[in-house]
Symmetry: T
Subunit: 152 residues, 12 copies
Amino acid sequence: MPNKIKIVEDKSVLVVHGPNLNLLGARETETYGGTTLVEIDKSLVRLGKELKIAVVSFQSNSEGDLVSAIQGARGGLNGILINPAAYTHTSVALRDAVLAVALPVVEVHLSNIHKREEFRHRSLLCDVVAGQVIGFGPTSYLLGLRALAELI
Amino acid sequence: MPNKIKIVEDKSVLVVHGPNLNLLGARETETYGGTTLVEIDKSLVRLGKELKIAVVSFQSNSEGDLVSAIQGARGGLNGILINPAAYTHTSVALRDAVLAVALPVVEVHLSNIHKREEFRHRSLLCDVVAGQVIGFGPTSYLLGLRALAELI
Amino acid sequence: MPNKIKIVEDKSVLVVHGPNLNLLGARETETYGGTTLVEIDKSLVRLGKELKIAVVSFQSNSEGDLVSAIQGARGGLNGILINPAAYTHTSVALRDAVLAVALPVVEVHLSNIHKREEFRHRSLLCDVVAGQVIGFGPTSYLLGLRALAELI
Amino acid sequence: MPNKIKIVEDKSVLVVHGPNLNLLGARETETYGGTTLVEIDKSLVRLGKELKIAVVSFQSNSEGDLVSAIQGARGGLNGILINPAAYTHTSVALRDAVLAVALPVVEVHLSNIHKREEFRHRSLLCDVVAGQVIGFGPTSYLLGLRALAELI
Amino acid sequence: MPNKIKIVEDKSVLVVHGPNLNLLGARETETYGGTTLVEIDKSLVRLGKELKIAVVSFQSNSEGDLVSAIQGARGGLNGILINPAAYTHTSVALRDAVLAVALPVVEVHLSNIHKREEFRHRSLLCDVVAGQVIGFGPTSYLLGLRALAELI
Amino acid sequence: MPNKIKIVEDKSVLVVHGPNLNLLGARETETYGGTTLVEIDKSLVRLGKELKIAVVSFQSNSEGDLVSAIQGARGGLNGILINPAAYTHTSVALRDAVLAVALPVVEVHLSNIHKREEFRHRSLLCDVVAGQVIGFGPTSYLLGLRALAELI
Amino acid sequence: MPNKIKIVEDKSVLVVHGPNLNLLGARETETYGGTTLVEIDKSLVRLGKELKIAVVSFQSNSEGDLVSAIQGARGGLNGILINPAAYTHTSVALRDAVLAVALPVVEVHLSNIHKREEFRHRSLLCDVVAGQVIGFGPTSYLLGLRALAELI
Amino acid sequence: MPNKIKIVEDKSVLVVHGPNLNLLGARETETYGGTTLVEIDKSLVRLGKELKIAVVSFQSNSEGDLVSAIQGARGGLNGILINPAAYTHTSVALRDAVLAVALPVVEVHLSNIHKREEFRHRSLLCDVVAGQVIGFGPTSYLLGLRALAELI
Amino acid sequence: MPNKIKIVEDKSVLVVHGPNLNLLGARETETYGGTTLVEIDKSLVRLGKELKIAVVSFQSNSEGDLVSAIQGARGGLNGILINPAAYTHTSVALRDAVLAVALPVVEVHLSNIHKREEFRHRSLLCDVVAGQVIGFGPTSYLLGLRALAELI
Amino acid sequence: MPNKIKIVEDKSVLVVHGPNLNLLGARETETYGGTTLVEIDKSLVRLGKELKIAVVSFQSNSEGDLVSAIQGARGGLNGILINPAAYTHTSVALRDAVLAVALPVVEVHLSNIHKREEFRHRSLLCDVVAGQVIGFGPTSYLLGLRALAELI
Amino acid sequence: MPNKIKIVEDKSVLVVHGPNLNLLGARETETYGGTTLVEIDKSLVRLGKELKIAVVSFQSNSEGDLVSAIQGARGGLNGILINPAAYTHTSVALRDAVLAVALPVVEVHLSNIHKREEFRHRSLLCDVVAGQVIGFGPTSYLLGLRALAELI
Amino acid sequence: MPNKIKIVEDKSVLVVHGPNLNLLGARETETYGGTTLVEIDKSLVRLGKELKIAVVSFQSNSEGDLVSAIQGARGGLNGILINPAAYTHTSVALRDAVLAVALPVVEVHLSNIHKREEFRHRSLLCDVVAGQVIGFGPTSYLLGLRALAELI
């Protein structure tokens, strides 16, 4: 569980990465760029420090584990930054988890999902999150963290 | 696996709880009420005794684990009472598991899914189960167990 | 009018049977079983006694008469148990009557409507009733009455 | 009830006329022609005699009464010739009545419903009747009776 | 039949009220207001006198009776003011009756049907009536009568 | 070309049989019955004689040849009886040919197309023919010829 | 800006005419009648006097100018009578302007839009206005003004 | 034309505000907040200074003027930040203008458009812009400017 | 095969006429005009001479023959002018033939297909041809030939 | 207003260019080619002289101004050649303007709109114009003018 | 007819090639590869020998001829391998022919039809054949023959 | 992880079995046959030897584990043979995993998915795999392996 880490900042957020994002930087670089997930996490921690927010990350290919991770954010953490990847378009369970935790949530996407297949245009989370940042590569995460900082 | 418990009653059923139901009573109480899952399970066991039916419960956030649990009911158990929660609307795998086990299955829902989002109106299991009980809160489970008792 | 009967129990409910249900037990027995409507009504009265609820029944093939019967439940009765049969899928007038009487209403169906023709999957009442019991034959009525007993 | 008439022929059929057909010959004659319903019934009786079939007619503007009339044909009569008029497109109750009586049913229409409004192209009875005769004015009824004669 | 009343004005119109409108003023007052149907009819008669038009009213919960009432307006009366209520969205029979009587017809609605459920946005009569007045409460009827006065 | 046959009756009609009907009686007899196309043609000639109408038949698996056959009926013949079979649902060319010949056309089907696959419910000819006879087996043709006799 | 005119009545309303209405009386008179927009405005002023309401009119072919005109009604005026013409079916900007001004708005149409092309059946304003008057020619405006008088 | 302002920073961007945004802070504050457009523009200029980017703003209710403003950004400016408001959902002309100027464009929305009416879920620009920032109130603009700064 | 004719001009094109066009001038003249196909072909040859292009024509009611004719244009000819008539809306085979020959193709229609039945609005060839000329009667062919002359 | 120019030819037509066409030749040249709008207008004037038709051109990015320009063609001019560009797919106002002027109108498009985004396949003008020329670049205009010359 | 060839093997199958496949190897080689139809047929004969199955091939551009060829396989042959090409998506007649012959049928496609235009995703034969092999170029045929060998 | 097995052949492929396939041979044998998954794997290994390809198998009910297994094939293995079972129709995550590994993938299905429920007709993988083999029972796997052998 990612939320067992001790947190020293005043505020802390969970960053949730969906399926196949573990391959970032090594897969389809023309679409997703060459930055790895570790590098994104590092840049988030760096920006978090500037914003006085501790950043905890979690990646899984399993819908159930992602649901549990979101549930785990209840109580201890102050907000969630999520890139649900493929589950954006198919998971009611993630949507329900977001509804269940009473926290501000920001949804981000690396690529502009509206330029891709028809089924990627619909997000099952889009109307239960506070807002979305879409299409700016790793910058989407950083802008999303800034947005979350305003909300918490 | 939930089906390893020794059963002394003549008949036994598996109760399957889908994702996020572990938070019941602590989450969105205006929609789902304040009863916890443990309390529901206890009241099912109690009614089960009255009906001479042993009740075994299983909850998971993972679609795959729920599929495996349903598969595990083959042979030993006599029926399944299922609240698939979010997977009601997205899981063909659960549907296939229900088709694969040759047991009577009853589907229950706490809230009236027809009063909620459009995508919650469709159940992928509804035409492979024996019947449905929808909208009566924890009572849905108890009525579902009574229905199952008639079928097994 | 079915609501003129004198009622001695503390609570009383109206049971409304839609079109063609008068032929129950004599028609399409492979779908609807061999139990007649009179037998169902009797078993409801019996369960009603156990639950301290008086049960009044009404059947009609006419949409208008069913609307009037539901209207007649205002004031005197405490709840409605309805199997709208064919009108489930076509009657906005029944829906409006349910909205107009300020009473808890439970919808029941003998057969699993989701296993039948596409147009039977949609109920025009489903989101204005408290809940639904679907697919358990005459048991649907009995479970529906139990659900109604909890609500009133 | 139309089925109380004493029948001397070997076989007998019920002719069911839906709503507004009572105005036939007096209404929209450019669409429906100038023949009245009484004239159609007479010509059916005449052809019935030739085919050794007694013909009993019933018209109503009420869906419920039409359902009851069809139900009444069970047992005594040998087949049904029906022009459901407006209820063709909206009545599941008529469909269920046709399913409930175990008799051959032939559906007829005076006008070619496919030349009219979109919603008139769909018949809720078309797949539960034996066949259809559409678009030949009063001749549709006569051909329908001939078809029914073959079936009974 | 409502059209048997003797009429002394030069012109006369039939006002047709659909199902559940008999409960007006006593039901869902936040949607339909506290005015009763009797009060609406009285205000119509009053305005009718001012406009030199006799007003005859008819309410029924039965689709068939409403069809017959509209048919009865042929010959004697000069126009029809109709609030089809729930049958607005489901009755082809009412539409056919409007087509069958060669009279100007005005459709009115108390509430703004476009602010309500999706299925209430479609009227099966809207393209066979002269025009519509929607959303002004009892005033809708009065404006509808004024519109009818212009047409007859 | 089928229209070169010399005709001695006062009136004559072309009977057009669509693709695969040449196998009638030898194929899917549970759906189409055991009567062959030759037998149907003979019974049509026999009824034609009774009705003083000469009957000329044409069958082809080729859409283009069927179009040409219909075109050939212009001038010499008085009407067309057509079972377009599979082309019912896909051929705009047949529709255009029917529009191009200024003759009464009757469409017939052996089986009730509404009981079969969804795509068979739509006929591309239905609104350009005079009427349809559907679902009575070989009798459909005979009734269609009677209808045509009325029209010419 | 139309709202700069000095107003002496107690109440005042803005009448907004959409694109192409400047040609009224000179264009498609079979659909829209021979009355000009000036004549309609005059009759509105006349009725306004009777109702103690000042009437200010504005017509434009430009969506943006119509939006600005509606915005201009904030503060000074008491209600808006609008015939959005072509923009009824395409302008979210007009809808937003109506939402932005906190005033009662009544929508009117000269012709019965439901008798015309499919795309004219949908109004993007219909659920944000108080109500609609449709299909009575210039009388639609007068009835709309009466409705507005009730609301302000 | 907004692009005539002299620019001293190295880079400059055009901020385009769509219809009704001129009322910001004075209209529907529960949806859009109490910040005015002038305040948003000031905060953008301030952030622009920090990012070494000159910021030029333009607001119009007219689709055509917004198209012209976007066209005017060609050559001189380095990017566009756009909140198309109502035109998001209806303007192909704005889309074409974005395609015509060879500049990076970022789309922003104050409110979460996915929580609102169905027709607001679709953006006609979403697949021709670089990315979107949705739902964070005035912060959406600031994040959008940061994203644009990365792109130019 | 139409492509066996010896060609003396520098360039040559195949004109393909679809089903029922052989009846042109003799059929539905209110829709298609009184000009015959022979006259159209002559005027095309005349214009072809002016443009230094040899014109070869082919008409068939058979989809397969039209496919073969288009295939035959490979190599020898320089372009194709096609009026696919009814096959416009149903033939993927013609589309594939157009894709298979590496030649510029222009699609023409005599009538404005958008003023006719819904299914005629869709062309299966429209996105694989260079362009379309629609609605100008025989002039459509002549303009199409001019367009083709520019392309080859 | 473009129609104030003095005209010496016998006939004159208005050429209407929609939004963003002012950038022609400078924008997306791979789609629209390198010819400028001025060059197209010149070539139209040149062809107009040959055909004895005066040609007046008008371009605007504003829907309202285009509507006004079309209205201005009433009386003085003999026909309209229009490339509505983006408004092809969204403007009912342009459609109404075309309906309002009683003149022959020809619609042209530079690119083949059927090869582009789905929403560009639908033209809101296509069934109210005489015909269309699509996909031949600047030649589309010249062919359109020839077509218009035939019509006026 | 392809089935007149004398067959010496124990089993024999008909290979049916749809329209435009005669151009294989010479047309769109980037999609379909450079192998010709003759080469495919040869490799099928070769594999057939290995599998003790005689292979007879037939290609036509005509839907009717393909129907007749399939009909011809009745009796003498043991199975059919079909690549319906363009008719896959449009021919109910081919589907009916497959239903009419009581033989195992395997459907093959050279290209992956799911990577191409939307309308190519639907096969009208897919649910009446035994199975499908899609996307492996000429190998699709060979695998299809192996599958057929298992079935006969 | 299935890819840790040491491989001695030149090439190796991963066989991925989706949810519920572990019950093969014991479940719904009328649909899926009596062969077990172990037997299928053995026959694949046997054919693999013949084709000089090592075969590694993996089955899971968990979507996430299947995603991880596909990811694990990167680098070491040469291709993937996948029967995604229920996830065929619901998993974008599997699709993304297939896109992420740069390997040839072949999709197989035991039953003909087009003969089953509507939702089983759509595969979310079909356009990202090389090809499909559908409907031949265990033979589908063997043919799929042959196809894969051609591709690697």
